[in-house]
């Protein structure tokens, strides 16, 4: 038989499949299924032993390069602090704005790290939430060598050293903190918003923006009911879920937003919305009619943290960069651009000294920045602020389900 010229054979290769073929393909698939049936391995990590950490760091060398993965708008355009780092240490950097959402980032990083492969980043920045908790629990974060973090130890604010989610900063150091509160468009809202109840006010029907993230919106549901999220139970979450569902069913909420709430409120698609402090501050300086308040019932303070992912190629260089950003000068330069809450209180002194050298609008802008309780909160401000509810893996499923039923109807 000559298959090339055998028409019957060629037809056989190209014609549609019969029932017997279907069984054959099914058999093949079953084989593949057997291959895949072993499941996804769990990788719960034990806390690091001090000796092992020491050994690890003793073996690492400086490679004079570092890859920093961060969120958008978290570094001045001219990369000033990174350039100064390069000049001071000779370590060249690659800066990538690849993180837009914690969950999405974790979802993409997890299979890679689980397989024991490097992510290709030496520093990543993640918010204190369930995903960061997962990174730590799964052993995806390299324990830090505090002997190589002198600036952090000297300059980080006390509040930024006592983190409930990472005691003793074993794995992470803060990059910046921010506050979740309410932003409103003063063109449409003619009163001073002070209370969280405004988000539930029928007057603003269809003009309220809420956040889609379960922890963010969950906290706001709880503030509205006078519940402290840090001490909340499942019953509290359910009450908050019911309250938020009521708000949705009454047609108050226009949409559950990710990062796009800020455009919506500055364009006037929504009149008031849950918002992050720094976003609103940046828009204000751009002259847009938006205002930010921490509701009297409470607001949420969160922290974005730097960590070294497992398998990073340049951990020593990464540690050096982390520490460099804790020099007050570098922190001040970052703060001027980011406009969230800096973990380095001394950056305030540097900015205050800088005000004296400026004139006109620039001076006014910087004075507003320094004077803002959203950027350098007072003790009284801190007293109103809560963190996210701390959840175990089992609780997380329950918590997510309660609030996703509201946000993803």
């Amino acid at each position: 038989m000559d298959p090339v010229n055998d028409l019957a054979f060629l037809r056989g290769m190209t014609q549609s499949r019969t029932r017997r073929d279907a069984f054959r393909i099914a058999g093949f698939s079953a084989a593949a299924l057997a291959l895949a049936a072993c499941g996804v391995q769990g990788k719960k990590a034990a806390p690091p032993k001090a000796d092992a950490v020491k050994d690890f760091w003793a073996k690492q060398k400086q490679n004079n390069q570092v890859v920093f993965a961060n969120w958008p708008e978290y570094m001045p355009e001219d990369k000033g602090p990174l350039e100064k780092f390069k000049a001071a240490t000779g370590i060249s950097y690659e800066y990538k704005e690849v993180i837009n959402e914690n969950a999405e980032f974790f979802g993409k990083a997890d299979p890679v790290l689980r397989a024991g492969q490097p992510l290709g980043y030496d520093i990543v920045v993640m918010t204190n939430g369930v995903q960061l908790q997962h990174m730590i629990e799964l052993g995806y974060a390299v324990p830090l060598d505090h002997a190589q973090l002198p600036n952090f130890n000297a300059n980080a604010g006390q509040k930024y050293k006592e983190r409930g989610y990472d005691p003793g900063n074993t794995y992470t150091v803060p990059y910046t903190s921010g506050i979740t509160g309410i932003a409103y468009n003063t063109k449409y809202v003619k009163e001073d918003i002070t209370s969280i109840q405004s988000l539930f006010d029928p007057k603003y029907k269809g003009r309220v923006g809420m956040m889609r993230d379960a922890q963010e919106i969950g906290n706001f549901g709880m503030y509205a009911l006078g519940i402290d999220p840090e001490k909340s139970t499942q019953a509290d979450w359910e009450k908050a879920g019911a309250k938020l569902k009521e708000q949705r069913d009454a047609g108050l909420v226009r949409k559950y937003y990710d990062q796009d709430y800020i455009d919506a409120v500055s364009k006037g698609d929504v009149y008031l919305t849950m918002a992050w402090s720094g976003d609103v501050f940046q828009r204000q300086l751009a002259g847009e009619p938006v205002k930010f308040v921490v509701p009297e019932e409470g607001g949420t303070i969160w922290t974005d943290n730097m960590l070294i992912p497992k398998g990073a190629a340049n951990p020593v260089d990464a540690l050096k960069l982390m520490d460099f950003l804790y020099q007050p000068e570098a922190a001040a330069e970052l703060e001027e651009f980011i406009q969230y809450v800096t973990p380095v209180p001394k950056a305030g002194d540097i900015l205050r000294a800088k005000v004296a050298t400026l004139k006109g609008q620039e001076k006014k802008d910087l004075e507003t920045l320094i004077g803002s309780p959203l950027i350098f909160p007072t003790e009284a401000d801190y007293a109103k602020l809560r963190t996210y509810t701390k959840l175990t893996t089992a609780q997380e499923q329950v918590f997510n389900r309660i609030f996703q039923t509201v946000t993803q109807a």
Binding site: P3, H134, V253, Q404, T407
Partner: protein
């Protein structure tokens, strides 16, 4: 000997490709869909088919809504796309390729960016609605964003070329002489279109439906950017279950259900259209 093996050697890359990028992932997904566990402790195979019933119980609304939005968008695409394809094929003259290029021009911009610019265009006080409101043609509270209209509109806009192109290809192949012949045999223009051109172009419509209905139904982008509180589609749910909740079994079970529903739908549609072999019709349009 060499001659004997040639067809196998030639077919090998395609089969290899299918095996690696279709069969293995689908098998893995099927396996995950019946596992239980969580992301910290890992997932183990327990053959828990209740994952399917649970997922369907919770998300049947979003699944039905997606089929409805996808179907509606597809119908709108046919209504808009057919005349466009007809016009380019029969009246386009020697500028046909330019028209086709214009049609594809927006596709040099990323899908997500295009959808976001729709958001800007349709903003409550944006270029379009703001102007109409200033002229007093619309009440001030009127909005398009965060409604079903915006989502279906976005789907229609984003997938329209994939409807127009196959119809165009089918119409382009229609020999003008058969239309002339019909008219010579006393068919009116309408009758010639209805009894000659339309049947000849149906495979193109069919291919267009395949290429638009499936992605439109599964699309998570339009509902997220343009939708409101009750426009969540199944694609958004799968994304949330996979990336946010790391609930891989539920996400896989939902993906499979969606795939099954779409396949069944397409076969029913093919039967209704009288097409014996679905894929052949698509391939030989």
């Amino acid at each position: 000997m060499k001659g004997r093996l040639t067809p196998y050697v030639l077919a090998f890359p395609a089969w290899f490709w299918l095996a690696i990028f279709l069969v293995v992932p689908i098998a893995a997904m099927a396996s995950v869909s019946t596992q239980t566990g969580n992301v910290i402790d890992g997932f183990v195979q327990t053959l828990s088919f209740s994952n399917y019933t649970d997922a369907l119980g919770r998300y049947s609304n979003q699944l039905l809504r997606s089929l409805w939005y996808g179907g509606l968008a597809t119908v709108v695409m046919i209504v808009i796309g057919y005349p466009v394809a007809y016009w380019i094929a029969f009246k386009g003259g020697n500028r046909k390729s330019m028209y086709l290029f214009l049609l594809l021009l927006p596709f040099f911009v990323s899908f997500v960016l295009r959808t976001i610019s729709w958001g800007f265009l349709l903003a409550d006080d944006g270029i379009l609605l703001g102007t109409l409101k200033n002229w007093g043609l619309l009440p001030s509270g009127f909005h398009v964003l965060a409604t079903t209209v915006a989502v279906v509109g976005g789907l229609t806009y984003n997938f329209l070329p994939f409807m127009i192109l196959p119809i165009y290809v089918a119409l382009e192949r229609v020999d003008p002489r058969v239309v002339e012949a019909a008219q010579d045999l006393y068919a009116s223009k309408t009758a010639a279109f209805r009894r000659v051109v339309l049947p000849l172009s149906l495979p193109g419509v069919f291919a267009g439906v395949l290429m638009t209905f499936v992605p439109a139904t599964a699309d998570p982008v339009n509902s997220q950017i343009l939708g409101g509180t009750e426009n969540t589609m199944i694609g958004n749910i799968i994304q949330t279950e996979y990336l946010v909740n790391n609930n891989y079994p539920t996400a896989s079970a939902l993906s499979f259900t969606l795939m099954a529903v779409l396949l069944v739908g397409i076969f029913i549609y093919a039967r209704a259209l009288g097409t014996e072999n679905v894929l052949e019709a698509a391939a030989t349009r």
